[in-house]
């Protein structure tokens, strides 16, 4: 692992039967980085994050993660819908072994801005608010690395803006490394400080959004002046995907 990396994967391979979901992917991230993993459906984004989160095991390659300090926020909210907001947070704070789970719960309620809805059953919250609780639970372990799988799916623009404000603050203020996957190329460009482009299990690009545009200009100049999403699609097409 390099000195600046807090999380690193080398030559990751993952197979589902005959299909190779990851084909020797290299990846690393430093403290406070906000990395967007983008790519078309079936690119291997969720698989990569699952391996980094320790939920799946790689069939090949190496993963170095800070032990016990990786927070995981799955795509679909992993919450007990019949429990209240507070009960969900309290349960996971207790399971995390917090010395003062009640204080941790209060902290997360403040952080998510849902203190006034603490007594409501999660099932009655909007998708955006459920996602905020989902992320808050991922933060309960006070991780140095936070992995978010498609965190803005199903959220309206206002909810999405609040989510990214919240997540960006984690990286910038707390120095938390945030790695998120998304289908939304505009969102990746806007919030990702770094982009990792995956397609069919291969890492096609790893760099800044400006660096991706530079690559498009080089490899697909006809799309360089178009919007970012069109340029990205042209880039994938040029790379044979």
């Amino acid at each position: 692992m390099t000195d600046r990396a807090v999380i690193e994967a080398r030559k990751l391979v993952k197979r589902f039967g005959e299909r190779e979901a990851l084909k020797g992917v290299d990846f690393e991230a430093a403290a406070g980085e906000l990395v967007a993993v983008i790519g078309p459906n079936g690119a291997g984004k969720t698989t990569l994050l699952s391996i980094l989160a320790g939920i799946s095991r790689a069939d090949g390659g190496e993963v170095h993660v800070p032990e016990g300090e990786v927070g995981w926020v799955p795509q679909q909210a992993a919450l007990y819908r019949r429990l209240t907001v507070e009960e969900n947070l309290l349960l996971f704070a207790r399971l995390e072994g917090h010395a003062d789970p009640v204080a941790s719960t209060e902290e997360m309620l403040e952080l998510t801005g849902l203190a006034d809805r603490r007594g409501e059953a999660v099932a009655r919250l909007s998708g955006g608010n459920q996602q905020r609780i989902n992320i808050a639970i991922g933060l309960l372990a006070r991780p140095s690395v936070l992995l978010l799988d498609e965190p803005s799916v199903g959220l309206d623009p206002r909810q999405r803006a609040r989510l990214w404000e919240f997540v960006s603050a984690l990286a910038e203020t707390n120095g938390t490394t945030v790695i998120f996957s998304t289908h939304d190329i505009q969102e990746a460009e806007r919030y990702g400080r770094r982009l990792l482009v995956l397609a069919d299990g291969e890492a096609l690009f790893d760099g800044s959004p400006d660096g991706l545009l530079e690559a498009v200009r080089r490899e697909a100049p006809e799309a360089a002046d178009r919007d970012f999403e069109t340029a990205f699609v042209a880039f994938l097409h040029h790379r044979g995907h």
Binding site: G54, G68, P74, A78, Y80, L91, E96
Partner: protein
């Protein structure tokens, strides 16, 4: 584990409808099954027409047998609907008001009495039955066959008893009333005594030899006729039943029915709850989050089994307490009840965990749990010998592989001292806990991978 347990109980409390259904449904089934087992079959409704004259008596020789109470005997076995004519009886059968009609014709007693004459007629009774429903038809046929067999037995016994009295008269002598007059019967014993007293006074010769022959005959006749009376008695019921119990004593039917009801409740509550709550972790997407280091797979399984056992114990004890209001239970065996419920609950919970890990959704798991538990529970109630040997062996194997039967054995043993061996049942349950625990652990790996 306690926080997860608390969470599951909170979720259960927040789902009152599911909780009520989870408890009420198995309790209802359990009570119905227990009620069905403990209750004797319903008496079939039978139309009954007795055309035999009230003063008609079966006679033996010159004597009439006392009234044997045909009406009472028949109506004790079936629910008699008295009718006035054959046509009415047939109409009641046809309309479905009764299952069958039993008609005793007016000449029945005369025909019975003709059996001891040179020109016997076969006594017949008439049965009218609708065989629209094969199950009912079989029930009625069985009942009527049993009634006829019993009637034949009663008559045969009476005839044998009267025949025995005649033999006694022939042997020992006495008074016999015929047509209002009393006739003295000397009897073989008295005849022999008279002849033997005459013999010394006779000179040797032909007459004395003849008297000796008469004496030998009376002795031979007495000896042989003396065996006639017990023979006649045995003729009425030649085969006697000598019942020997070779496989332990059995508990009273009420205790067994309560054990069945309690085990049904325990099985459904535990299997459904454990399987459902494990599947819920997946449905709520919480399984990967929990097993990322917060809880081990084994810890999660153990928590679910404990949840099932705790709730199953509470519901089953509540049910037993309710049943105790109507049926006396051995409260001194409460410790054994606990052992049976805990061991049975743990084995059923382990089986529920294996089922819960095998399916993705709570609804699918609930269906699977029903599809497995219900038939196995009913198979466990089929007594050995009620089906063919091969099928019986197959049922025994199937029921031994699922915890319902050993849990039922343990419960029966715990409830009544005459039940099966509790130790064997507990050992069986322990083996199933280990086996299903391993199976659940293996299935959970697949659960995590999918």
């Amino acid at each position: 584990m306690r926080w997860l347990l608390l969470k599951d109980l909170q979720i259960l409390r927040r789902s009152p409808l599911q909780a009520v259904v989870l408890v009420a449904y198995p309790v209802l089934i359990a009570v119905l099954v227990g009620f069905a087992i403990s209750r004797s079959p319903e008496k079939p409704r039978v139309a009954f027409l007795n055309d035999v004259p009230a003063d008609a008596r079966v006679s033996v020789g010159t004597r009439d047998l006392p009234n044997i109470g045909v009406n009472d005997r028949i109506c004790a076995r079936v629910e008699c609907v008295h009718v006035k004519s054959r046509a009415e009886a047939v109409e009641k059968v046809r309309s479905g008001d009764v299952l069958a009609a039993l008609i005793l014709p007016a000449n029945l007693v005369n025909r019975i009495n003709s059996l001891s004459t040179p020109f016997p007629n076969t006594p017949e009774i008439e049965v009218v039955v609708s065989e629209e429903d094969p199950v009912k038809a079989r029930l009625v046929n069985d009942r009527i066959d049993a009634l006829i067999a019993q009637a034949n037995l009663v008559i045969a016994r009476r005839i044998a008893a009267e025949g025995g009295k005649f033999l006694g008269l022939v042997l020992d002598g006495g008074d016999l009333r015929v047509l209002g007059q009393t006739i003295e019967i000397l009897g073989l014993r008295n005849s022999a005594r008279i002849v033997e007293s005459l013999r010394p006074s006779l000179p040797p010769g032909d007459l004395r030899d003849s008297v000796d022959r008469v004496i030998r005959f009376t002795k031979l006749a007495r000896n042989n006729l003396a065996t006639g009376e017990p023979l006649l008695t045995r003729l009425a019921q030649p085969i006697a039943v000598d019942k020997e119990v070779v496989d332990g004593s059995s508990p009273p039917l009420e205790s067994f029915a309560i054990a069945v009801a309690a085990t049904f409740t325990l099985a459904f509550v535990v299997v459904l709850l454990v399987a459902g709550s494990l599947a819920l972790e997946r449905e709520e997407n919480a399984f990967p989050r929990l097993t990322r280091g917060l809880v081990s797979h084994s810890g999660l399984l153990a928590e679910k089994v404990v949840l099932g056992v705790v709730v199953g114990l509470a519901v089953t004890l509540l049910m037993l307490a309710g049943l105790a209001l109507f049926v006396p239970l051995h409260w001194s065996r409460f410790g054994l009840w606990l052992a049976a419920i805990l061991a049975g609950g743990a084995a059923l919970g382990a089986a529920g965990a294996a089922l819960g890990a095998a399916a993705r959704e709570v609804r699918a798991v609930s269906l699977l749990a029903f599809m497995v538990t219900l038939p196995v529970a009913f198979l466990s109630l089929i007594p050995s010998g009620a089906v063919g040997p091969a099928l019986s062996d197959a049922i025994e194997v199937v029921t031994a592989l699922f915890p319902f039967k050993p849990a039922l054995d343990a419960m029966t043993a715990a409830l009544d001292p005459a039940g099966p061996d509790l130790g064997v049942a507990l050992l069986h349950l322990a083996a199933l806990i280990a086996a299903y625990g391993l199976l659940a652990r293996f299935a959970l790996r697949r659960f995590a991978a999918v």
